[in-house]
């Protein structure tokens, strides 16, 4: 049935937006946990951990997200794993987010002045105490701005999972267009919805970065 674009269409798109938000959230949590592990492994681990992590990050950062998503979707399902689009989308987005977050956070950890590490040592703190009480809090403060900025990228990049059939906002738009054939109305609405979600995050990210610069300038 072909329909006209109307209020019901917006509700349909809104449902897609909820799925987008859900996928972005899962990606951020899973990618965040793994990214933190990888970042720590990269900064503190022995070479046998550092090098594979570095290779992983370099390879993922050199592959288009679309290809990563297709690889996860086709690769895993043919290895015999039951993988509906949500799982494939979540796994591939997590692979992508882990690589980038690990790199961002490694940079933030390394940005903490060397003097802090030595001072913590001379205070007699153990390795994990040093991390927990001295290094990570400072690294996290540096990291907040860029991390929020990357969240915007995650939300936008969920749109790529539309191409494996996961019904998030962009795919909802395509399906809606299939029923209305009014691409201008449909995709303008879709763009507006992304903007409404992303712009506040972008704005917040800029504010956080500015504040940190002001703080470090004041130091």
């Amino acid at each position: 049935m072909i329909q006209d674009f109307g209020w019901g269409s917006l509700q349909f798109l809104f449902l897609g937006l909820l799925w987008t938000a859900g996928l972005a959230f899962i990606t951020f949590i899973a990618g965040g946990i793994l990214g933190m592990l990888f970042a720590l492994g990269r900064t503190l681990g022995p070479a046998c951990i550092r090098i594979p992590i570095k290779i992983y990050i370099e390879l993922i950062q050199a592959t288009p997200l679309l290809i990563v998503v297709f690889l996860a979707y086709y690769g895993l399902s043919f290895l015999g794993l039951y993988l509906p689009p949500l799982a494939a989308a979540a796994i591939s987005m997590t692979v992508y987010a882990t690589a980038f977050l690990a790199d961002i956070w490694r940079g933030c950890i390394e940005a903490v002045p060397k003097g802090q590490w030595e001072a913590a040592d001379s205070l007699g703190l153990s390795g994990s105490e040093r991390l927990r009480y001295v290094i990570l809090p400072q690294a996290l403060r540096i990291a907040v701005g860029p991390t929020v900025g990357f969240m915007v990228q995650i939300v936008k990049n969920t749109s790529v999972t539309a191409l494996i059939g996961f019904v998030e906002l962009t795919r909802a738009g395509t399906l809606l267009n299939n029923m209305t054939f009014q691409p201008f109305h449909v995709f303008m609405s879709v763009a507006a919805m992304y903007f409404i979600v992303c712009y506040p995050l972008s704005w917040w990210s800029e504010k956080l970065k500015e504040r940190r610069h002001a703080n470090s300038a004041a130091n």
Partner: protein, 275 residues
């Protein structure tokens, strides 16, 4: 310097979570092979093609309904179990069957030899006419009229194979992810013609008031093709049951009745072939 203890603990936890998650996902796929299996799990999972109006419609809560869903309902009712509908598209339907996500596919798949190598295809449950759709003024009475033109098709579809195989000089085949995008390309004027299911095209033209602009060029037949259901290679009993089901639905007129409900006409081409 580097203490393994805290790192190791978190690592082990993450590893355990990953394994548990995978196990959970794997156990969720029950590969039902026979009718008894399906009856045992009290549910039949059917992959249904979506995004192909007028054969289907998706409402604002994401639920899909249509010709194929009605057939799926009949299947579930006749076996006597609940129905789980899994929406698929051209790109994902093969994977969903092969991976065990669905028990069978009612996804407008034409029974080509390539597909028959991977799946068991049933006797057809429906037919469609593939035609070119083009602007009203455009001269399109035979295949050679397409020389130098751009024609959109869904990638990997039978239209794709057919149109690519014609070998017409200068014909550019432009591939999109699904039928509707290929149709949209025509409506937006990005291509000169598209190869689509005649019923779908007529519906789009009528509902969007495009009768002045586009028409189905019925003088150039591409083909009349038939849609089959698909099951996995080892699901012989299910395959035979479905053939029976299709046979019965046809002779009782139920297939035509459903087709009429959604498309407005009986199934084209008369009696469905069997093989």
């Amino acid at each position: 310097m580097f203490k393994f203890s805290s790192f190791g603990k978190v690592g082990a936890l993450a590893g355990a979570a990953l394994i548990a998650g995978t196990a959970l996902m794997m156990s969720a796929s029950a590969n039902a092979q026979t009718i008894a299996d399906i009856e045992a799990k009290q549910k039949v999972t059917i992959g249904v093609l979506t995004g192909i109006p007028p054969y289907d419609v998706t409402d604002s809560s994401g639920k899909t309904d249509g010709f194929l869903v009605d057939i799926a309902r009949d299947i579930a009712a006749d076996i006597g179990v609940d129905l789980e509908v899994v929406p698929v598209n051209n790109a994902s339907r093969a994977a969903s069957l092969e991976s065990g996500r669905v028990d069978l596919l009612v996804a407008h798949m034409t029974a080509t030899p390539e597909r028959a190598k991977i799946f068991r295809m049933t006797n057809p449950y429906g037919a469609y006419e593939m035609r070119f759709i083009a602007p009203v003024g455009m001269e399109l009475k035979k295949l050679d009229d397409l020389a130098g033109k751009r024609v959109s098709v869904p990638k990997g579809s039978t239209q794709d194979a057919a149109v690519s195989g014609y070998g017409i000089d200068g014909l550019e085949v432009v591939r999109f992810d699904d039928d509707a995008l290929a149709m949209q390309a025509l409506i937006s004027g990005q291509v000169d013609a598209t190869a689509a299911v005649a019923a779908v095209a007529n519906d789009v033209i009528a509902k969007r008031g495009l009768a002045e602009k586009f028409e189905v060029k019925s003088e150039v037949p591409i083909f009349t093709l038939y849609w089959s259901m698909a099951v996995r290679k080892d699901a012989q009993e299910l395959h035979q049951w479905l053939n029976n089901f299709i046979y019965y639905e046809e002779i009782t007129g139920r297939l035509d009745e459903l087709h009429n409900k959604w498309i407005g006409s009986p199934i084209p081409g008369g009696k469905l072939p069997t093989f």
